[in-house]
């Protein structure tokens, strides 16, 4: 009974999202919703390394870039079908994450954050300067879109992928791997003392998080039809971090809510005109200071307070 109770909000949310294209009249909002679903994937990945493992990585957008360029360039140069290149994108990203994660996961805390930030900067520099391949700052346009560019169809593709990858994140979280990641976040030194090789699990979390980003990046490329290096800069990596913090780090619902916030909030604030981004920044700073456990964290503790009288519930 408890289990079905937990599933109910998820099924409701999924039903609402499935009906959304019928409910939305303004096409632009459908466009934003697709971006938000792509960001759900990216943020779920970020949450694995940041929220569960406690390692703040600042290279998520860089990994999106690797996925986006990998899918685009393989498609353009070898004329491979779009589906194949999109499936290859997370695998190629995983290779980069393996190579970068192995050395960088030896350092902790701020040092890890700075090392990954450096990786993101390097990725952008390479994308800008290796212009024979990437067409440099000008970017690549006319990237093929599936279904002749139908937005509704793409929406359902993004929804299906976001939902299944959220489910995968939930499976990881409730497995022993998830418990070990939480243990690493709480006290990494003690993890080794009870016989667990932490590096395996950290590397796993980092590589999986990169694969999420790689797929998100490939989706982005084939949705927008245009990519350039700037899209995959450090600023977007910070958005992934904020999506996790705002939504609720170390929770499964958190990145979903956070992803919609980081996509829609700047749009909702358009009324403020040129102060828009300042206002956005201010909201983020205040939210991070005053609600570090995120929206899901606040909702959970409020719910716990409401039901405390009715008896004790786990989780």
């Amino acid at each position: 009974m408890n289990k079905s109770l937990h599933l109910l909000p998820w099924l409701l949310g999924l039903a609402v999202l499935a009906m959304l294209p019928q409910l939305i009249t303004v096409k632009y909002y459908l466009h934003l919703s697709i971006l938000a679903l792509i960001w759900v994937i990216v943020a779920q990945g970020q949450n694995l390394i940041q929220g569960f493992t406690g390692y703040v990585s600042i290279v998520q957008a860089g990994f999106m870039g690797i996925g986006a360029y990998a899918s685009t360039l393989i498609g353009l140069n070898f004329q491979w079908p779009l589906w194949l290149t999109m499936m290859l994108a997370p695998l190629i990203t995983a290779l980069f994450a393996l190579a970068t994660g192995y050395p960088s996961l030896r350092v902790k805390g701020h040092y890890f954050a700075i090392v990954t930030l450096a990786f993101n900067l390097i990725i952008v520099i390479v994308l800008v300067n290796y212009s024979e391949l990437t067409k440099g700052e000008a970017g690549i346009s006319n990237i093929p879109k599936p279904w002749g560019g139908s937005r509704e169809a793409f929406y359902y593709l993004a929804l299906a992928l976001a939902a299944s990858l959220t489910l995968l994140a939930a499976l990881i979280a409730r497995s022993r791997v998830g418990e070990i990641l939480l243990a690493i976040r709480q006290n990494e030194d003690f993890v080794a003392a009870i016989g667990i090789s932490a590096w395996k699990y950290k590397l796993f979390a980092f590589v999986i998080s990169a694969m999420y980003a790689g797929l998100g990046g490939a989706l982005y490329a084939h949705f927008q039809g245009f990519i350039n290096p700037e899209i995959f800069g450090v600023a977007q990596s910070l958005d992934a971090i904020l999506a996790v913090i705002l939504g609720g780090s170390g929770t499964i619902a958190g990145p979903v809510i956070g992803a919609f916030l980081v996509v829609f909030l700047p749009e909702i604030l358009r009324f403020a005109d040129s102060f828009r981004l300042i206002l956005y920044g201010l909201i983020l700073v205040l939210a991070t200071i005053f609600m570090p456990i995120g929206i899901v964290g606040i909702a959970k503790s409020a719910f716990a307070r409401m039901t405390r009288r009715g008896g004790q519930h786990g989780g």
Partner: protein, 255 residues
């Protein structure tokens, strides 16, 4: 006596010019309680850290059940049967007591933790076995009543018992306990002595570092005394109490 679990031979550890442990040799057998005592800075904790694999020895060898382990990482040594606790309470504060002890079962599990991501029942069934083992350990360590509590809400004394419980969950052959009685009140110290005897009864060898002499003298079968990183005496509690070198270096006349 029973077979040797741990054999330490000519172990040395230097930090720069400081020789924290010098040419230390001793043995521990199954079901034996060995005390490691000495003044502050005599190298007791360094010895535990070198044995557990926190840092490698400068020289010497560590044989665990006949196998040389001095080059193996910490986690591997736990899997081979060497567990330890820390001077200060090191715990996972957000877990429940039950979850915390179950984390210690990692090395005894048959099902790979990555396989547990797949939503099949095998690891759930294993979890049921683990739950029984955890219950048994909680009972032994007197933590049964707080099994569902969050670790952060335990007293520091209870957290020390939790550390021992978690170490036991790895089914060690030998347990190194580093100053387990520090900060414990009298009745907790008695519980601790009782627990360590209970652990011995299960055939586990115990190496205990402690400053509380009454506890050490009451518990240990044998005692090794360190001073400036070197062994200055070894023997039964009665022999150690009467040893002039030990009285001079550590115990003092009053003891």
């Amino acid at each position: 006596m029973a077979d040797t679990i741990l054999r330490v031979e000519q172990l040395s550890k230097s930090f720069g010019g400081v020789r924290a442990v010098r040419d230390l040799s001793f043995e521990v057998s199954a079901g034996e309680i060995l005390g490691l005592i000495g003044p502050n800075g005599s190298g007791k904790s360094t010895t535990v850290n070198v044995l557990a694999g926190v840092f490698p020895p400068t020289a010497g060898s560590i044989l665990l059940g006949g196998q040389a382990v001095e080059t193996l990482p910490e986690a591997k040594r736990v899997a081979l049967g060497l567990s330890r606790t820390f001077q200060t309470a090191k715990v996972f504060p957000e877990f429940t007591v039950r979850q915390h002890v179950a984390m210690g079962c990692h090395t005894v599990r048959q099902i790979n933790s990555f396989a547990s991501i797949l939503p099949f029942g095998a690891w759930r069934r294993e979890q049921a076995d683990i739950d029984r083992e955890v219950d048994d350990i909680l009972q032994l360590c007197g933590l049964h009543a707080v099994a569902e509590r969050v670790v952060a809400s335990l007293s520091s004394g209870q957290q020390r018992f939790l550390m021992i419980a978690t170490a036991l969950a790895a089914r060690p052959k030998i347990l190194l306990v580093d100053e387990p009685a520090a900060g414990l009140v009298e009745h907790e110290r008695q519980d601790l002595a009782e627990l360590i005897r209970g652990i011995r009864q299960r055939g586990i060898a115990v190496v205990i570092i402690e400053h509380h002499m009454a506890l050490i003298m009451a518990l240990c079968d044998r005692i090794v005394v360190l001073n400036f990183g070197a062994k200055i005496a070894e023997g039964t509690p009665a022999e150690i109490r009467a040893n002039p070198a030990v009285i001079d270096a550590y115990l003092g006349e009053a003891a």
